[in-house]
Amino acid sequence: MKKKIVSLLLVAAMTVSMVACGGKGQQASNTEAGTEAAGTEAAQEEYKLDKITCVVNGTLTANVDCGQAEFEKQWEDAVGVDLVIKQLDHSSYNEQVGTLFVSGDYPDVMIMSADMYAQYAPTGILWDMTEAYENAEFQSRVTSKTTNESLKKDGRLYGFAPAYGNGCVTYVKTAWLEACGINADDIKTYDDYIDMLTKFTTMDPDGNGKNDTFGVIAAGFLGNEAPFINYLPEFWQDAYPAIYKEGDTWIDGFNTQATKDALVRLQEAYAAGLIDPTTLTNGTKDAREKWFSNDQSGSSGVFTYWAGSWYQTLTDNLSKNDVDDRITELAPIAEVGAYLDREAPVWVIIDDQDGDDSREQAIFDAFIETMLDGDTVQTLWVYGAEDVHWSTKAEEFTTNAGTEKEKTYTYEEGKFHLKQNPNDPNSLWKKNAIDPALLIAPLTNGYFSVEGLAAEGNAFFLENCKPAPESPASPTYTENAGTIYDAKIAVVTEVVTKGADVNKAMEELYVNVVGSIVDQCLTELNGN
């Protein structure tokens, strides 16, 4: 028995000494890799790039089940560099990028949402591409310079947006409107909107004889991605529950009367059963799949989602699932005024920290410069791979053969057209990573396919939008964005789903928890 204790102690002592030894002089392991790769020879100018690793989210529609291999191959053939695509799960993309960065397994390029970009911009992880961007060859074709100008943080650009941001508009199932005898044009105020939700909830608009419908579904009462009020604008109205710039000053829009009022509106609607309760935890995909699912029990009538091509996609999905084939776009109600046009998602290049820009410049030239080349590569990003996603060859194909939705498409030789979705022969391919309607520099080869609902949707959005506030970039915010978001969610949950008093919840769960952090962010942002 004694011996056992002695030997245990021995092992413990051994460990302690190992820890102590290890502590000396040893540098952090993750920086080792960086300096190792340094090898800074004076071979600047022409850096020989042979491979680019690229991390993307779900917006690269050409996923592994949808012809990604062909896309990759055609890109490699056009650019002459190997491309390795790592497509992470869309809904947990932020989290996964965090994990990826912890692993030190940095890609060369990756896509980031606007507020991820704002968070990472001050960290030094992203390569400062200001000069590369200014001198880029595509500048001559860019029609909207402001998109990227507004992305600059303190005059420096760390990410590149090949397209406008786009935003969300409110969609309503037309059949449900008809079932409840509502005319969408009459929905002009918040009261009208609530009245519509109430009817959707109580009048059995899907006609299944059960009282199982909801007014509206969304991905979260509060989005975790700017603009945070995207998915329930009618409730948030003029509130913007995040740090944003009013005039020249950064302010915290969460602890404001406007936000409190919005929370009370949500609380009332939730208590009345107008909002699908899974909204609290839904990801965007949960919400939208449920909205157009072929199983409409428990579905909702209203869904606010991305404008333009999604108008088409949502309609197609409803139709594919035999639900309906009509969706009505709702003009912004008076209290909302205009839908928010969010900051565009950006492509960033990861700085390898070796103090030499030749590699990053080479990546820029191979990846970002070509993305807007107006021709082959840009087409790849916009429409996908030739003869997989689109074609100019003569062909004829039929979708939904043998059903009443059967439709035959005929194209003559040389006519650009989109093919069937490789993963779903019953629907047409729409776009790849970049929405053709949102490009900041048009394709010069004349390929254009934005028509029908997508074009209508874009026009509708452009008529009814205003730019979203800029995301804050400060070191304290970067370190605490997660904590701040958690605190906000706690307030929203407490107030909306549990009916707590909004002032009390705000004080206890937000001000007391993260108040000082938020203040520090504001000081940093408003400093100098």
Binding site: L100, S293, S297, K320, P425
Partner: protein
């Protein structure tokens, strides 16, 4: 290895109220366990999600399973799970039998030190971040084989093997030693053949652990080609990352089909292997 000894008492033919109530209680317990599982199975074949418990799908479809079989994002994780489980069970078996066998040698000098060396790891560990940094150096981050390596050593299972080996009559070892067998020879020719049941139990323990592991993948793997099925399943159901496919399959159907696939391998094997699972627990727990 305690064999269930049932207390056989002279039975009176009379039916006791107690027995009736007891049976009734266990019918309820059995239902509590079966109902959720059966609902999952039925719903995985049902085209429309309903809340009611049904004995049979009312709108049967195989689309859920077809989607899983035909979508790379879903079948690839399943295959990864199979590979890592097989490899993990083998590695786990090798290490725990070797370690257990050596520690079972009562008069091995330094045996206590070796044991303490292993047991200390049960008291203290580096924690999530330091472990992560080590795995990074070993190039196991973003690599599905981490599932194998991470579960390769399980001190608890190793001690179970040790306890089992200690139960093998020492005379067998002595005889072999006299015949001039090396320790490895004795191990392979005498010990292992005598331990088939224990090997099966411990191997299954490892297999279940690796197959069921979700959090290791969540922490260490972001590469979608390397994740396992548990990860994909959870990701699909709770985080909403359902791959889109040709089938107009309802989410509920697909989710339930995914759950069935995740439990299927062990459900099939379970009735045959149950005694080994139970044996595994009893080797350690009951042998006081």
């Amino acid at each position: 290895m305690a064999r269930e000894k049932i207390v056989v008492k002279p039975k009176k033919k009379k039916i006791h109220v107690f027995d009736v109530v007891n049976y009734l209680v266990f019918v309820i317990i059995a239902l509590i366990i079966i109902v959720p599982i059966w609902k999952v199975i039925v719903d995985s074949f049902n085209a429309v999600g309903v809340y009611q418990f049904q004995l049979w799908p009312n709108r049967p479809t195989l689309d859920g399973y077809k989607t899983i079989i035909e979508t790379q994002k879903l079948y690839q994780p399943f295959l990864n799970s199979v590979y890592t489980t097989v490899a993990g069970a083998l590695l786990g078996l090798v290490l725990s039998t070797l370690g257990g066998y050596v520690l079972a040698q009562k008069d091995l000098p330094g045996r206590n030190l070796l044991a303490a060396f292993l047991l200390f790891t049960m008291i203290f560990s580096g924690g999530m971040i330091p472990e992560y940094l080590v795995m990074k150096q070993l190039h196991l981050v973003n690599n599905m084989w981490i599932l194998v390596v991470k579960h390769g050593i399980n001190v608890y299972n190793l001690v179970l093997m040790k306890n089992f080996f200690e139960g093998i009559p020492e005379s067998l070892y002595e005889a072999a030693k006299i015949d001039g067998c090396s320790p490895m020879g004795i191990f392979i020719r005498i010990v292992l053949p005598l331990s088939k049941a224990a090997l099966a139990s411990i191997g299954l323990m490892f297999a279940v652990t690796v197959w069921n592991d979700y959090s290791t993948v969540k922490i260490y793997i972001t590469d979608p080609d390397q994740v396992n099925f548990q990860y994909k399943l959870r990701n699909m159901i709770m985080d909403g990352d359902t791959p889109t496919t040709a089938y107009a399959v309802s989410q509920t159907t697909l989710f339930n089909a995914g759950i069935v696939c995740a439990i299927l391998p062990f459900m099939i094997a379970y009735p045959f292997l149950q005694k080994y699972f139970v044996k595994g627990v009893n080797i350690g727990a009951v042998k006081e």
